[in-house]
């Protein structure tokens, strides 16, 4: 087990370096951060050169990258061109997005697993077909469409919730945005649970459980669910990273000042340190979530643990 963790950690390093370098390359090599500073005006060449040198932008790209990563490791994410430390922006933005993600994950677990279990147990019947069709529709309607529609219906037409979120972004304000963020994954969790339950309910060991004379609820909870939820739990774990990164659309619809909002501003203003900093942290979150999932997998499935 210990060796497994170490191996996974080692495998993460090149992936982390690769992903962040890719982003770094796109922002610093394909864009021109200094030109962006001056907006529409053509920069004075001497000033531009001075800024370049100050910001370490005159070195070769790989050196810039190493310099940047070195700073990050000491906790210095640099300063946005506005003069605000990127770390400060993060401290404001990440808790908001984290709360949004938590709400979304709760929706996934609550509704996704319940609906999937219902469908999987009643395979081919009315409930199952309805749930399946519903998930397909949800998957097909892009988040930005469903987001606006739900915002319009709940926020404007019926006035059940406030259509936009205050800067405090409390949990109750985030219920509707959380649902919107979760929708696609929710449908996916439902389908995954259904497939898994249906597959496992034909497994030999389930037949054994019935042959042992166990009551139905025990067959379902102890034997069927315990096995069926392994892929579902791992999916939800992986999804945490993806949700945080994908929150950008939802945050835009509901005007939530989270990670997506900051990133969007950063990109619009070509605020390179902001963009690279935020994306680096998101990549890190994503990779750590994946690592946790792998460990969780080993805990849930003894066959992996002892392999």
């Amino acid at each position: 087990m210990g060796r497994y963790v170490v191996r996974r950690l080692l495998q993460m390093i090149p992936v982390f370096v690769g992903s962040t370098f890719l982003i770094f390359f796109m922002v610093y090599a394909l864009g021109d951060p200094v030109a962006a500073l001056f907006g529409d005006k053509a920069p004075d060449p001497a000033t531009a050169a001075r800024i370049r040198s100050e910001l370490y932008l005159d070195a070769p790209l790989w050196k810039q990258y190493l310099h940047y990563m070195g700073q990050i490791l000491t906790g210095d994410f640099g300063t946005a061109f506005t003069g605000q430390p990127v770390l400060e922006l993060m401290a404001d933005a990440f808790p908001v997005t984290l709360r949004l993600t938590i709400v979304a994950v709760c929706f996934e677990i609550l509704f996704g697993i319940t609906l999937g279990l219902l469908g999987g147990l009643r395979r081919g019947r009315g409930t199952d077909t309805t749930v399946l069709l519903l998930t397909l529709v949800v998957v097909s309607v892009p988040t930005f469409v469903s987001g606006y529609v739900l915002q319009y219906l709940f926020g404007v037409k019926w006035g059940l919730v406030s259509p936009s979120v205050s800067p405090y972004a409390t949990f109750d304000e985030l219920m509707l945005p959380g649902l919107v963020l979760a929708l696609t994954s929710l449908a996916y969790v439902t389908r995954l649970t259904r497939t898994s339950v249906a597959e496992n309910s034909r497994a030999d060991y389930l037949r054994t459980a019935v042959a042992k004379g166990l009551p139905r609820h025990r067959v379902v909870t102890r034997h069927l669910l315990r096995n069926s939820l392994i892929p579902v739990v791992t999916f939800i774990g992986t999804d945490i990273g993806a949700l945080m990164g994908g929150a950008i659309v939802t945050e835009r619809i509901f005007n939530i000042h989270g990670v997506g909002y900051q990133l969007y501003q950063g990109i619009l203003r070509q605020n390179s340190p902001t963009v690279v900093g935020f994306v680096t942290v998101l990549v890190l979150v994503f990779l750590l979530a994946n690592l946790l999932v792998d460990l969780l997998y080993a805990v849930l499935d003894p066959r992996i643990r002892h392999a």
Binding site: D204, R207, T208, V210, G213, P302
Partner: protein, 333 residues
């Protein structure tokens, strides 16, 4: 009351169908057999002969759909399992009639320790506490001679060898000392060297608890040592049913004779081995008349048109052959 005279298990005219894309497969087509308390019935047949499906119907673990029991009775101590309430039937399962599966690796829950899977029997049927149940589970593992049972109770199925896993399956089956055990090819998945050990253990425990046993197999060799009675199945029907010694000595059905002749025998060394020609029929298109007629060396016109009834062919034996008498006489060696 009927219970005093009724046999332990009495399967009567059981029909099971499967709905497949190729049509309706008649997997079990009027099977009848009985098992007396404490006795062993071997159900012999090729794959697809309906022997396992019959067992699943008896245990109530048939996959429905696609399977469906269309007719028949399964009397356990005189009570019809097919018509009794589900809760009543559940209490019998595991406690009064238990099953051993062929592939223990897939039949055991991969994410539960074997101790928990064994202990579950006591928790559910006897209301034992988890720790008491666990202690009983360890005793049980000891009983089926699993070394270091106490430590190994916390292991998962995939950590055991094939033979050890099958011992755990056997332990699970005898846990509540049932009246009847159905063993579905319990040794087929094992190495030859382990097969005998597992079979011996099963026979020993069966004797100890005086349990009735239905042993499903396609291996004639296994049968001779342990069974009292044999039912030979083909295409979802019983072809012949007889006490072991008599069936081996004088088969009353050409199919049985073909099976026996296809076993290599030391006293016939050097001679060409017999093989039944052709293949078993598709269950969606069983030929009319006797299902064995296209492959039977003795087939006449009547075999292609009339389904043979079960003819009494001696004390305690029946044969589904129009020419059982001729077969029986021809079989005398």
């Amino acid at each position: 009351m009927t219970t005093t005279t009724a046999p332990l298990l009495d399967v009567r005219d059981l029909h099971v169908e499967f709905h497949t894309r190729d049509g309706v497969a008649k997997a079990v087509n009027g099977v009848s057999y009985t098992v007396e308390a404490g006795r062993t019935l071997a159900v012999l047949g090729e794959s697809g002969s309906g022997k396992s499906v019959t067992a699943q119907a008896v245990m109530g673990i048939l996959d429905t759909p696609p399977g469906r029991i269309t007719a028949g009775q399964v009397l356990f101590r005189g009570q019809d399992l097919l018509t009794m309430g589900e809760e009543h039937r559940r209490r019998l399962r595991g406690a009064k009639l238990a099953m051993i599966f062929q592939d223990a690796l897939s039949a055991l829950n991969p994410v539960m320790t074997v101790g928990a899977q064994l202990g579950e029997m006591y928790e559910v049927h006897q209301g034992m506490s988890r720790s008491d149940a666990r202690a009983r589970a360890v005793q049980l593992m000891d009983r089926v001679r699993i070394p270091a049972a106490k430590q190994r109770a916390g292991d998962y199925p995939h950590q055991f060898s094939g033979g050890m896993r099958q011992r755990i399956m056997i332990a699970m089956a005898v846990a509540l000392e049932p009246d009847l055990i159905i063993a579905d090819e319990p040794t087929t998945a094992l190495d030859v060297t382990v097969q005998a050990q597992v079979m011996d253990l099963l026979a020993e425990l069966r004797r100890e608890y005086a349990t009735g046993l239905v042993l499903i197999t396609h291996d004639l060799g296994v049968v001779a040592d342990v069974a009292d009675h044999i039912a030979v199945m083909y295409a979802g029907r019983v072809m012949e049913s007889a006490p072991v010694a008599e069936l081996y000595a004088r088969p009353a059905h050409p199919y049985t004779r073909g099976l026996l002749d296809s076993i290599p025998r030391l006293d016939r060394k050097g001679r060409e081995l017999y093989a039944i020609k052709g293949l078993p029929p598709s269950l969606t298109a069983v030929p009319p008349g006797c299902p064995f007629n296209p492959r039977c060396p003795m087939a006449q016109d009547i075999c292609r048109t009339d389904r043979p009834p079960l003819h009494p062919a001696g004390p305690g034996r029946v044969s589904a052959c129009h020419f059982w008498k001729e077969t029986l006489e021809g079989s005398a060696r």
